[in-house]
Each structure stands twice: as structure tokens, then as C-alpha cells.
Assembly symmetry: C3
């Protein structure tokens, strides 16, 4: 998330009870995860394995659980528990306060948009013009819906990320990371019945202009779907993944996290995508392969008995 305005490191260090190593007069412009940091951002790291990655990232200020020198133009904020510090900062700027939920409605809905009964629209939601929001849809706080968007019945926009700190040294193992991102659905996109689109943890989950989602599709936090993508029913896409423009995913495809499927790639039904895919190619299989390679492999498997027979003959002929 970006802060409403730059915030002094001094103030932050007091909020999270941190020791600053470096210039106290710096100001932070936002706080983000390591995947998405840019200059001026705070980032946090609590495992030595990731120290280097964080220190050398674009982030300017590192919340860390070990004292060490700050690189040039950066600063370290040393705390005992960087994850708790991260949560404290995010919750300060984007608090979850149920009591505030029933205050006056602050959503903005554009002209000629039609909202059916039984729709829940959270605070600070913006809906553009000529949209249709079908019954029993849920749109949580801060989401942004463009013009000419259709959201079918029962869809959920802006559910919490499935994103936990998995430190097992406590009775309840998993602590939820607070998410402060949004879901942005661009113009002419359509969201099928029963889809669930998680909001970003620190950035935004985006459904690009003109992309069409069939029913019961799951889109993870911070995932970015390009323009004019076609996604068939029951596809699941994990967090922080990117689909470039014009990608087609057929039914029940699963896509893992933090990868990229390039422009106009096509993935056939029930495939499982575990790594980046190239532009314009057709893929199939779980795990996924080039579709023609996979088709040939399926034929080869059927030839094993024939091969076995040949070897039996050779053995007998010796």
C-alpha cells in the first residue's frame, strides 16, 4: 500500500518500537511485500535466508530482526518481530473496524448501472457506468469497478488473501497477514457466477479491460489478469501471478503463484501450470507441457506394451 502522504521514519520507528540505523529524516511513501517494492517503500524480512534479497531490493527501508549496517541511501528499522511490525503499520493506515462498517454508505455508483437486490457493497467502493451487478454479489471495501462491467450472481470481489505467517512455534500456527490492497476490475470485464477474487495484500488484484471470466473461478491476491483474456469455468489462479493480454485458460486449469503466462498463450482444460509460459503457444497437461509434446507423450505411453513385447522377443532370441 501507498501511504496517504510520506511518513517520517522517526514516526514509524516510534509506532513499531524500532531502532533506526541510518538517517532518521528519511520519509517512507508506502509499505509493500518484497515482490512489489519500489523506491521509497518499507519492506520487512524476518528470515536470514531473505536478508540479502530485501536489502538489495528497490525498497528503501528494511524492517529487520538483526542489527546491521544500512546500504547507501537506505535505512534499517531493527525490531524483534518484523512481521508484527508490518501488521502494526498496515493496521494503522487501513484499520478493520467492524463498528465503522455500519456507518453511512460511501460507495459511488455510476449512471445507468443496475444493482440487483441482496448485493453487498462495502465502504469506499467505486462502480462505473452501465454496469450490471447481479443478486447476492459481495463487493468488499475499496474495490474499484470500471464501466460496462458485468458481475454475475454470487460472486465475491475483494475477499481476504489466503496469506499467513507460518511460524509454527505457537499453539495456533498461522497468523493472517493483514491485506490492504484492492480489487480493480477494468472496463468491459465480466465476472462469472460464484467467482471469488481476493484483494491484494499490499498491491492490487487486477482484472484487465475486456477480460471474460466464466463461473466459479478463483483469483488469488495481487494477481494481474491482462486485457481480453478468456478464462473458462472452475479455473484457479494463485497469488501474485501475471496473465498478459489475450491469454486463454480452459476449464479447471490450475495456475501456481508468482509466475507469468505471456501474451496470447492458450492452456487446455485441466492443465496445471507451475512455471512461466511463453507467448502464443498452446499448452496441456498436469504438469503442463507444450501441447503437441504432451499429445505425443500420450501416444508413446500407449506403445509400452508393444515395446515390452519386442524386448521379450529379443530376450528369447538370444
Amino acid at each position: 500500500m501507498q501511504f496517504p502522504s510520506p511518513v517520517s521514519l522517526q514516526w514509524i520507528s516510534e509506532l513499531i518500537n524500532a531502532k533506526i540505523i541510518g538517517d532518521k529524516n528519511y520519509s517512507a511513501t508506502g509499505i509493500n511485500e518484497i515482490h512489489k517494492v519500489s523506491k521509497g517503500d518499507l519492506v520487512f524480512v524476518d528470515h536470514p535466508k531473505y536478508y540479502d534479497k530485501c536489502i538489495n531490493s528497490e525498497a528503501s527501508y528494511i524492517i529487520i530482526n538483526k542489527e546491521m549496517d544500512a546500504p547507501e541511501n537506505k535505512a534499517m528499522l531493527v525490531v524483534e518481530n518484523p512481521f508484527e511490525a508490518y501488521c502494526t503499520i498496515v493496521n494503522h493506515f487501513r484499520p478493520f473496524s467492524p463498528s465503522s462498517k455500519l456507518k453511512s454508505e460511501t460507495a459511488v455508483i455510476g449512471e445507468k448501472s443496475f444493482v440487483y437486490p441482496n448485493v453487498y457493497i462495502g465502504n469506499n467502493v467505486t462502480i462505473g457506468k452501465n454496469c450490471i451487478i447481479y443478486p447476492n454479489v459481495t463487493i468488499m471495501d475499496y474495490c474499484i469497478i470500471g464501466d460496462n462491467v458485468v458481475i454475475q450472481a454470487g460472486a465475491v470481489i475483494g475477499s481476504n488473501a489466503f496469506y499467513y505467517n507460518t511460524n509454527k512455534n505457537r499453539e495456533v500456527w498461522y497468523k493472517k497477514m493483514p491485506d490492504c490492497g484492492r480489487v480493480i476490475i477494468e472496463d468491459y470485464a465480466e465476472i462469472g457466477a460464484g467467482c471469488t477474487i481476493d484483494r491484494g495484500v499490499s498491491h492490487d488484484t487486477i482484472i484487465g479491460a475486456g477480460s471474460k471470466l466464466d463461473n466459479m473461478i478463483h483469483i488469488g491476491h495481487d494477481t494481474v489478469i491482462g486485457k481480453n483474456c478468456l478464462i473458462a469455468a472452475q479455473v484457479g489462479i494463485a497469488g501474485a501471478t501475471t496473465l498478459e493480454d489475450g491469454v486463454t485458460l480452459w476449464g479447471q486449469v490450475g495456475v501456481s503463484k508468482t509466475l507469468t503466462i505471456k501474451k496470447n498463450a492458450v492452456v487446455l482444460a485441466q492443465s496445471g501450470v507451475g512455471g512461466d509460459l511463453e507467448a502464443g503457444k498452446i499448452y496441456f497437461g498436469s504438469p503442463v507441457q507444450d501441447a503437441r509434446t504432451k499429445q505425443k507423450e500420450l501416444v508413446w505411453v500407449k506403445r509400452i506394451p508393444e515395446l515390452w513385447e519386442k524386448v521379450m522377443v529379443l530376450e528369447n532370441k538370444k
Copy 2:
């Protein structure tokens, strides 16, 4: 869709600005897609590849983007953009008018049927006797629910088809085809929690009498499920497919579009069905095969290392 009463070609040609080749005094009884046309219907075609199929189909009147002679007892309606013409006709007879949505409720609900709170029931819906409609269900316009039907919480009946014109020569690539079909759920059928059943594009999506759907099943537009089928959780069935009576699909099976699974066939969990299946047989795999053939194949794959070993021995013995 069928028209409320026959409509003169002359009138239609004026609505869509078409040139008629053939007898202007003919009347059309309905407009349908090529999959489902019958005598008296209008059909549209905009790609030369499908000209012959449409002209030789049961349809009597062809909306087409090329001037050509009409076959005997048929007529051609020549327009620049047949798809737009199709949309114009469908929208004339089944308009989507949000403002009409809040008019007086016209649904009919039979005696002893119980509708829980937070259910949305659209206009012109009919629900039979002794039904239970659980909370947060959505039933869109024109759907027909028989007697003794159970619809579990959160299910969506009559969502829009995932059906687009994929002409890429424009900024927003995909234009939604208007759908004017219905969902018909016959007596004693049960629909699980969170299922989504799309309405037909030009005909109806049908769930046959006594068929039981577990949770989170997706049924595409114009698909027909026979009587007494059992469908386990998270199955997805694409559009215009037919399941004959007594078919069983186990969990997470995917079924492609416009195919037929014949009477009493059984498809085991996570299988992917890409073509027609025979009656009474058991199938498994993605892509699906006869279950015993697939089981044998799984065993053969495990014997590859043994086969490799044999070949190594033969090579060394030479």
C-alpha cells in the same frame, strides 16, 4: 428462442435492415443457433466456413453477410453484420431492461414450497410444489422449477452463458451473445450449495427429474442432464452437452462442450471428457479412457524402469 407468434420476414428485414432473397411473405417461428435449429427458424452465419452448414440445416431463413441464391422453400436475409442482426432480433423479443426489474414480482410459487430469506427470485420464474429453496440462492428470470425440488444455499440458477463473439478486430475483443433461453429443473432434482447453472443461449438448460447435484457444480448453457443422474462435487460441464439418463460423474470431473455421455455411463473422479462416451461403461483419466484400459496403462508406466533394465542387459550381451 421461439417467437410468441410467427413473424413475417418482411417485418424482420426492416428491423435488421436486411435485403431479402426469396419470398417476402414467409413467416419465421423463432431464431436459434445452428446446433438447435428446426424448420421455420431463423439462423445466422457470418463466416464462409459455415455457410454450407447453415444453408443446408433445418433452418428456413438464413441471416448472412453475402448475397446468394436461396434454396427452395428458404430465404436469405443479407446484412453486413449477421451477429449484430441476431442480437437485435433477440433483444427485441427478450429485452434486458433493468428498470423493469423492480416492477411487481411476477414469480409463481407452488403450495408447501418454502423459500428461505435472502433468496432472489426473478421475473417470470415458476416454482412448483413442496420445494425448498435455501438462503442466498439466486434464480434469474424465466427459470422453471418443478415439484419437490431442493436448491441448496448460494446456488445460482440462470446465470448468463459464457458465450462470446470472438472477432478480434476491435479494441474490446469479445462481444457477449444475448441469451434468451431458460433453466428448467424437473421434479425431485436437487441442486447442491454453490452450484451455478447457466441459462440456454437459444434453447434451455435442463436438469432432469430425480437428478442429484452435489455442491459447487458448474453446468454450461443449453446443456441437458437426463433423469436420475448423480453428479459429485466440483464437476464442470461445458455448454450444449447431453448427459443421458442415469449417468454418474464423480468429483472434479470436467466435461467438454457439445458432446453426449450415454445412458448409465460412469466417469471416475478428476477425469476429463473430450468426446462422446458409450452407455453403461466406466471411464477414467484425463483425457478419459475406458477405466480398465487406463488402469492397465498406469501399471505399464510403472514397468518402464524394468523394461529399461532389460534393454541394458540386451545391449551389453551383444
Copy 3:
């Protein structure tokens, strides 16, 4: 289900019109399915194949469709249709009476719990402290939600089991078994958007403390999820299965019924689990295997063409 208090066999025999073989003065403490019976329970059996299993189970009283001697300390209740008798008893103690549904709300909601709009909460539901129930959630009768539980938008807790008597000798083949179990969600568990959790048929479906479910997960009737399990999006788990503590299931995994996945086992994405899994191991594939074995198998399959080539050479050399 357990009865509110012990019930005399005499009274039950009159309710279901049964002939008692054994001591009429016995009392039954509950009625359960064969999977879950304990001493004092009634159980029913209508197929000779299962007579022995039922008679030798922990159950004390057997509703059966054949006259035979009762074992020591047990009794037989002989009826024509044991399944109907079972339904009669269950419905007597846990009737479904739609008219009662609109009576005064009897749910109990703990302090600092927040329930969003458009949530349906059934009768006799208990929700603990500090919970968040998001919009359009459905919680059916008798469910129990612990403290600090989060239920995301559109989830369904306590839908009916997908559980039918599949006697095909009638026009409508499948008769629904009445379910009288509950869903229990323990402290700190989180349920993702659009999840569906069926209630138990005779016992309870349980989501253990601290377990986290991502979006669109299906949990079948009577299934027990241990503590601190992590389940990714679109996983489906069939009925009466057990996940021990700390199990991780990645996206789109399918798990069959009545099996056990032991402590801390990990199942990789899109796998299909058809049998018990051992503690602490990693699994992959459909059907599932030890993940390393499966990985090797995938490599072996790619070597078939090479193997074929070797055999061709050997054949030519002969």
C-alpha cells in the same frame, strides 16, 4: 445423533412398527450410521451383505429386514424397510419444519463478533467471540462456530449431505437420507469465500482449531479436519474422511471418502487421493503417489522414445 435422553425400545418399535427380538426394556441412546456407532446406539441395515458387519458392530440395537436371533445384550428391530424406519426416527427427533423457520431467532452470537449484512443464521446456531462473518454467508441450523473464527463472503456452512439411498426400483431412484449432524468450526479457523461445508449425516463435520481454508473448498458430510491444516483453493474432500493435524493440501486436490490423511502430510496441487496417506510425507499425482516416485515416473515417461530407439537398434543388429 444422540437422543435428548435414552429412549425405550418399546416406544421406538411402536414408532416404526417393528417386531422386537430381545429385551423390550432396553433403552437406546442414539441412532447412527454403521461408520460411527457406539454402545447404546441404534443402527440400520437393509442388505444381507452388511448384516454381519452391523450385528457385530458396537451398536446395541439393529433395525433389520430379516428375522434372526439377537446376540447377547443386543436386540433386533425387524421391519420391512429399515431405511424408512431410520428416516422416521431421525425426523421425529430433528424434524424439518419450514413453518418453524420463521419463528423467533434462537442463534447465540458472542461478544465482539461482527456479522455483515445479508448473512443467514439458522436456528440453534452458536457463534463465539471475536468472529467475523462476511456478507452473503449462510449458516444452517445447529452449527457451532468457535471464537476468533473468520468466514468469508458467500460461504455455506451446514448444507445437506450428498447422501442418497440408491435403490433403483422406483421411478425416482434416489431417496435422500435425512441428516441430523452439525458443522463445528473450532477457534481460530478461517473459511474462505464460497466454501461449502456439508453437515454430518449422523455425527458432525468438524474444522479443527487454527485450520485455514482458502476459497471455494468443498467439505463433505461427517469429515473431520484436524488442527492447523492448510487447504488451498478449490480442494474437494468427500464425506467421512479424516485429516489429522497439520495436513497441507494444495490447490484443486480431490480427496475421496472415508479415508485418513495422517499428521503433517502434504499433497501437491491437482492430486487425487483415493486411499490413506502416511504422516509427514509429500504426495503428488492423480492417482496420488509419493511425490518423488511420481517425479521419477514423469521422467521415465519422457525416456520411452529413447528406449524405443534402443530396441530398434537391437532388432536390426540381430
